[in-house]
Structures are given as structure tokens and as C-alpha cells.
Amino acid sequence: MPLLTVNQVSHHYYSKTDYTKALENISFTLDQGEFISILGPSGCGKTTLLSIVAGLISPTRGETILDGDSDRKAGNKAHMGYMLQQDYLFPWKTIKENVLLGPKINKKHDASMDQRAKKMLEEVGLQDIGDSYPDELSGGMRQRAALARTLITEPKLLLLDEPFSALDFQTKLRLEDFVSQLLKQYNKAALLVTHDISEAIVMSDRILLLKPRPGEIQEIFKMPGELRNLPPFQARQHPSFQEIFDEVWKEMSALETS
């Protein structure tokens, strides 16, 4: 059984005079430990799709089933970890308090959680900065702290909304490798939204290409095994990377001109 099933999801945005079809008839499944990227030009409803999967908005039509549960409203959100373009660490909380936000909200905060938070921060390479405030950290460190905040709740599925887009190029490459390795280690599934073709190729097992207005799945690309098993940085240098890049690029350019 797949971890996540998205079944014929459509979503409309209404205004007084009109309505816009943001998503139209999206169906796909995601297995345990699988990494899927949703790629598309801006305005194709990528973030809307992610919000629906997260249970933050309910779709106009269709359903999403996570781990056999289709009732997505009733507190099941805790099975998800959501990462956004920016870290959105709370500036008035220390890094440790930020990381412990999930346990605190779910009333699971105790001494053992403090230990876990410390371990989690070590895991993401941020030792001894638990008592610092977010504005004392660099962009890459902040995004790693946000990752620790997401992972401490042990989510079944990670939702990544362009989490590397606000970082400088070197930090982005390093963090891609880091996240990819961490997901493999914990065998977590992830859904990444991005408009960066090469990022989608090197991170994913499959890429869903969305076409805009209305957001429909145009094509699904399966990444070859030799790329999937390489860390993102090395995958970028693999001979078959360029081949796939050209293929996806062609498809995506066709979408934008049509």
C-alpha cells in the first residue's frame, strides 16, 4: 500500500466575478521512502497541491489518503513535516525552543524531548548553538535548524516547498546533499515543490511535471537508477544528468511557450 495516495484532486480559487482552476484532476501515489518532485513554471498550483497534501486546505474535489487515513482534518497534520522557502524560525525563541515547538504543541514536551532536541541539532550539524537566537545564525544554519524542527516530530512524510531557493548556491548544494542523505538514513518519503530542473533531477526518484492554468500533470519522468543512488552533488556530474536535463527542459519550455 502506498504511503500517500492523491486521488483526482481538483482545486478552484473563487473571486466575486470568476473562478480559477488552480489544479485539475491530479492523481499520483507516493511510496514509503520515495522522493517525488513536483516541477512546473510559476503559477501552476504547486504550492496549492502541497497545502492540500498537508491538510491545510481541503480540495474542491477529490481526496488525499495518508497511511490509509482519508480524514485529513482531525489532527493528522502531525504526521507531516512542512518546510518552506524560508526557515520561518520564530525570532524571539532560541534555536532549542524553536526545535521543541512541535513537541510543545502536541503536549509531548518532557526531559527526554530535551535530549532528543539536542541530538537532533547534532544530527543537522548544529552542536552547542541551542541557546542562540535565529538572527545569530547564517541562512544555511537556520534552514538546518528548521529541518531539525521538522524532523523531531518524526513525520511520515516531508513536504518541501522550495526550501533551498532562498540560499546561496554553495549552501544550497551542500544542503541538498545533506537532506538527501538524511532522508535515506531514516527511510522517509518526501514531496518537493520546485521550479529548478536540476534540483528536481538530482533529488528525486520521480518528477511530476505540472502544466499551468489549470495545473495538470503533463508528464511523469522516472529517474534512472544510476542517478537515484548518487548523492545530489555527484549526480549533477553524472553523464546521464545532462541527457535527462535536456529532455525535461524541452518539455518545460514547450509548456511555457504554448
Partner: protein
């Protein structure tokens, strides 16, 4: 190498010294303006450049100050007014923030109530004075109500605006962690609005004084506002100016206390 270190140290010391000198000059000029203003006032009064009956003089006010301290009546008036102002200030601010929270909680309620808030905000609150005094009786409760009512609505509007301005992605983060609306308010909306709340506190310090003094004008037997209106009626402008200076002094102290609170609440 060692020499470079030494010069760096010297450069830093020079910088610190420059900073201190600058600070000293600012303090000097502040004191100079103070001394100049009061000496000019005293001289103008002594040499009859201004009418001493209307504008009094610092020495007369000082003598009155000593007299009021020794007969203990200053404390009585000061206590009454300070109590009323602080009570009005706290009630007005807290009620304003609570009302803003209610508006944030229910979008529909906030839309329904919006035109009434606009009207209440535009209306001069002190004009309600006579009605408040009739309703609550001619005592300190009415005066506290005046001090509070003058700042409630503006606090509500400003703080509600701050509640709405928070980046919705912070809410998204909390919701994805399973937070309820109440938790979102406690963890994000409320703390993110601290700076706005502090600046409305600063405004409210001034407003509460206005409300309380006007309230004391209308009805009171004690207080600094009473001293002003009494002095006016018996044409004792030394008393009026004396009360005014005391008010200015304590309003400034209250403002300083709010700034202390700001430093404590908001990490720089």
C-alpha cells in the same frame, strides 16, 4: 605583529573616548537649555517683561512646592491622580488588547463591528465625560473610566492591525505541526505583536493623563487636575503651573518605565 595589535587597541580606545565626549556634549546642552529656560523665566518675571500674575516664576513655584510638601497636601493630590492615571492606563491598554484578540478570533464579528469602531475612534472621547460621570457617579471610578476610554479604541485598532500583519507562513508552520487557533495566537500572533503593543503603551501613557486630568476638571475634590482648575478659578497661576510641572515630571517617569519594559520584553 605585536605593534599592530597595540595600534588596534589604541584605535578602539580612541573610538570609545570619542563616543563618551559626544555623549557628554549632548548632556551638557540638554542641561544648558534647562537652566537657560528657567533663568529666563525667572528674570522675565522679576523684571516684569511678562506679567508675573499670569506667568508666575520658578522661585514662586518652588516656594509653593516646599510649602505643599511640608503640609503634606502634595502627596494627597499626587496619590489620587497617579492612582487614577495608572489604573486608567492599565485598564485601557489591556481592554484594548483583549478586544483586538476578539476581533482577530472572529473575522465575521470584526467585519460587523468595523463601522462602529471607526465612529468610536473618530469621536472625541472626552465629550463623553458628562455622561460617564452621570452613569458611574462623581467619584474616582468615573475619572479612571475617562482615563481608560480615551485609549481603548485606538489600542484595539492598532493592535488588531498588527495581529493581521504577521507573515501567514508562521501560521502555516504551526498548523503543519498540529497547532490549534488558540496555540497559533499564543505562539505567533501575540509575541510577534509585542513591538506594536509597546508603542501603543507609549501613546497610551500620554492619553491616560489627558483623560484623567479632563475627568478631574469635570468632577473632583482632589488631584492635580483639581489643583489646575481650582487655581484657574481663584486666579492663582502659580498653583496651575506648579501642578503642570508635577504632571510633566510624572508623565515622563511613566514613559521611562514603559521604555524599561520595552528593553526587557524585546531582545535587541
Amino acid at each position: 605583529m605585536k605593534q599592530v595589535e597595540a595600534t588596534n587597541m589604541e584605535l578602539h580606545q580612541a573610538y570609545v573616548k570619542k563616543l563618551k565626549t559626544e555623549q557628554r556634549w549632548i548632556r551638557f546642552w540638554q542641561a544648558a537649555i534647562f537652566v537657560f529656560f528657567f533663568s529666563l523665566w525667572e528674570a522675565a518675571s522679576q523684571f516684569q517683561w511678562i506679567d508675573p500674575l499670569l506667568f508666575s516664576s520658578p522661585s514662586k513655584i518652588y516656594n509653593l512646592f516646599i510649602a505643599k510638601i511640608s503640609d503634606g497636601s502634595l502627596w494627597v493630590h499626587l496619590n489620587v491622580t497617579l492612582f487614577e492615571t495608572i489604573a486608567g492606563f492599565i485598564i485601557g491598554t489591556i481592554a484594548g488588547i483583549l478586544l483586538a484578540a476578539v476581533l482577530w478570533w472572529s473575522n465575521r464579528f470584526s467585519k460587523i463591528i468595523d463601522p462602529y469602531l471607526v465612529i468610536l475612534n473618530a469621536m472625541p472621547k472626552v465629550a463623553l465625560g458628562p455622561i460617564i460621570i452621570v452613569a458611574l457617579g462623581p467619584g474616582y471610578i468615573s475619572i479612571i473610566a475617562m482615563g481608560a476610554i480615551i485609549s481603548i479604541i485606538i489600542t484595539t485598532l492598532v493592535v488588531y492591525n498588527a495581529f493581521q500583519e504577521i507573515d501567514s507562513n508562521y501560521i502555516k508552520v504551526l498548523q503543519s505541526l498540529g497547532a490549534s487557533k488558540r496555540v497559533c495566537f499564543k505562539e505567533a500572533i501575540f509575541p510577534a505583536s509585542f513591538p506594536t503593543m509597546i508603542s501603543s503603551l507609549k501613546v497610551n501613557v500620554g492619553l491616560s493623563w489627558v483623560g484623567v486630568i479632563v475627568g478631574e476638571f469635570l468632577v473632583s475634590k482632589q488631584g492635580l487636575g483639581y489643583l489646575i482648575i481650582y487655581g484657574f478659578q481663584v486666579f492663582d497661576f502659580t498653583l496651575v503651573l506648579f501642578a503642570l510641572l508635577i504632571i510633566a515630571f510624572f508623565a515622563a517617569i511613566m514613559y521611562q518605565l514603559v521604555e524599561k519594559l520595552e528593553k526587557k520584553l524585546i531582545r535587541q
